[in-house]
């Protein structure tokens, strides 16, 4: 059984009378990576500062290995953890001295400081930059130094506050992969804050969604992304089609939802008469020409007209008006192949199992 290393109860943080963070209950297990996601200003960084004991909450309690963190001297607690912020915040010293900083604060023997600093300079692939002044590093190198500085402390808890958001895309992807490897090798318990869903999916063993300062959902990434707990979470995790409807029939796990005159099929266990939000991820919707008799096991087929097509990287976001707006995400290749244009008639198809229902 895994041990709960950190546990948050009834936490409330206010700034000038306004609630900026409210977490009723959150547990972090030994060795897991908890990705905290939410838009800017959702209270993510505030949560991290409270966990790092750098901000005193108005009320509530944080327990570290079962004991309230106030029972321990603040400095002793902070020396069990390590913090990495969005900006690397390196000092005007050599890279080596920066990476060694936390170890020196702990007054470790010189040989030990050197050994651990060298080890982590190596593991983050910046050993060749050891003697370089830190302010001459590129953004990616600087963030590597910042990570090395934190990892070298062998913390019981690693707190990462959007460490990659200021980096360019290729640098970010490489560093993200490397961090993923390091986290699985070391199994350091980590709270990783990001507004980027891909980062959360890659790194997080579990995902916590913070919206407007309130913890809305915690769960495995696949659960949060496919079965969001409410409409706001659904919108944030990229469930683009959210339709309000009523369950008109429910039998043997088969559900019919009526929304704006359309009858849609879903699976699940929701009683008849329940008002629900009918949620669909755009990648679960396929588009086809209305005349093509596509053979598919998909239970839902909606005819509609393409309202808008927006390129999004290698994909195209297609908004189809089927009486209700339905958003599909298809590859650029298939959009070209099908010669899709705005105003064209198409059929949107999706499986009943792709639907997630949120009772409201």
């Amino acid at each position: 059984m895994t041990e709960t290393i950190l546990s948050v109860k009834d936490l409330l943080v206010k700034r000038s009378e306004q609630t900026v963070l409210q977490v009723n209950s959150l547990d972090i297990q030994q060795g897991e990576v908890l990705a905290v996601i939410g838009p800017n200003g959702a209270g993510k960084s505030t949560l991290l500062l409270v966990l790092g004991r750098l901000l005193q909450p108005l009320c509530g309690q944080v327990y570290f290995r079962g004991k309230p963190i106030e029972q321990e001297d603040a400095l002793t607690y902070r020396r069990r953890i390590a913090l990495v912020l969005q900006e690397p915040l390196l000092m005007h010293q050599s890279v080596f001295d920066n990476v060694a900083a936390g170890l020196k604060f702990r007054s470790l023997p010189r040989a030990e400081v050197k050994r651990r600093t060298d080890e982590w300079l190596n593991r983050l692939e910046i050993a060749h930059l050891s003697n370089r002044p830190a302010h001459r590093l590129s953004g990616g190198e600087a963030q590597r130094a910042s990570l090395a500085r934190a990892f070298a402390l062998q913390p019981e808890l690693l707190l990462l506050d959007e460490p990659f958001s200021a980096l360019d895309a290729p640098t970010r992807v490489r560093l993200l992969q490397d961090l993923h490897t390091l986290l699985s090798q070391t199994s350091i318990t980590t709270v990783f804050i990001t507004h980027d869903l891909d980062e959360a999916l890659l790194l997080g063993d579990r995902v916590a969604v913070l919206l407007g300062g309130v913890l809305r959902q915690v769960g495995r990434p696949q659960d949060v992304f496919t079965a969001p707990s409410d409409g706001d979470v659904a919108a944030f995790v990229g469930v683009e089609t959210v339709i309000a409807g009523n369950v008109t029939a429910s039998q043997n796990g088969q559900i019919i939802v009526e929304a704006d005159g359309l009858h849609l099929e879903a699976v699940g266990d929701v009683p008849t008469g329940t008002r629900v939000l009918f949620c669909l991820r755009p990648e679960d919707i396929t588009l086809s020409h209305p005349e093509s008799a596509m053979i598919s096991s998909a239970r839902n087929r909606l005819k509609g007209r393409i309202l808008r097509m927006t390129p999004s990287g290698p994909l195209v976001r297609v908004v189809v008006d089927c009486g209700l707006p339905v958003v599909a995400l298809i590859t650029r290749g298939s959009a070209n192949e099908m010669k899709l244009t705005e105003g064209q008639q198409v059929t949107a198809t999706f499986k009943a199992t792709a639907v997630h229902l949120i009772p409201r």
Partner: protein, 214 residues
């Protein structure tokens, strides 16, 4: 005259370096506290300190003279017209300069650096030392400004030192005296000496400063 010049120069240096040193002793912690504390009255104190940076030396001289005058409240200490009196006056002139510039030097650092240092396990003392090291360039500039303000002032030294030969005569008061006597050659020679001295001390500090800049 040559022996006198040596003596005057040495006294100038001694007095001003000591006054700057004491100012650093007061101003560095004080300025650090002002920069880092979240006290409500902080802005008021900072504005007072900043006003103090422009304190006219003659006003300081007058105040110190009143305090140290034989019949004054501290007259029993018998400090008026001694080098100690000059050091006291010059410390009052330099301390606000060092304090104000220390505070501004530390306030220019990224405020998140403090969070980062604490998040790496720095104790309050370790954090402050790290911040000082990080702000070493503007801190040395604060020291230079403090020294510059006292090595060049004449009003306070004259009023509380009295420009007594072999006792409290410093370069600036000697220049005033020589000029008053119409001995421009001597005055010019002393002035050049003063400039060279100020230059050498600042050169020394600049070398230390720029070694850190890389």
């Amino acid at each position: 005259m040559t022996a006198d010049i040596f003596e005057i120069t040495l006294l100038s240096l001694q007095v001003s370096i000591l006054a700057t040193g004491i100012s650093l002793f007061i101003g560095l912690p004080m300025g650090t506290w002002l920069a880092l504390s979240q006290l409500r009255g902080r802005k008021v104190i900072l504005s007072l300190i900043n006003t103090g940076m422009a304190l006219p030396p003659v006003v300081v001289g007058l105040t110190v003279a009143i305090l140290l005058w034989r019949s004054g409240p501290l007259g029993s200490l018998r400090l008026i017209y001694t080098p100690t009196a000059i050091i006291i006056a010059q410390t009052i002139i330099a301390a606000p300069v060092v304090t104000g510039l220390t505070a501004s030097a530390l306030q220019q650092l990224d405020p998140r650096l403090r969070l980062q240092l604490m998040g790496l396990g720095a104790s309050p003392v370790q954090m402050v030392i790290s911040l000082w090291r990080e702000a070493r360039l503007p801190l040395l500039a604060a020291l230079m400004a403090g020294f510059g303000s006292v090595i060049s002032e004449v009003g306070a030294s004259m009023m509380v030192g009295g420009n007594i030969r072999h006792q409290t005569r410093v370069l600036t008061t000697a220049i005033v005296l020589e000029t008053g006597k119409g001995e421009f050659q001597n005055a010019i020679a002393l002035s050049i000496l003063l400039l060279i001295l100020a230059y050498l001390v600042n050169l020394g500090l600049t070398i230390i400063q720029q070694r850190g800049a890389r």
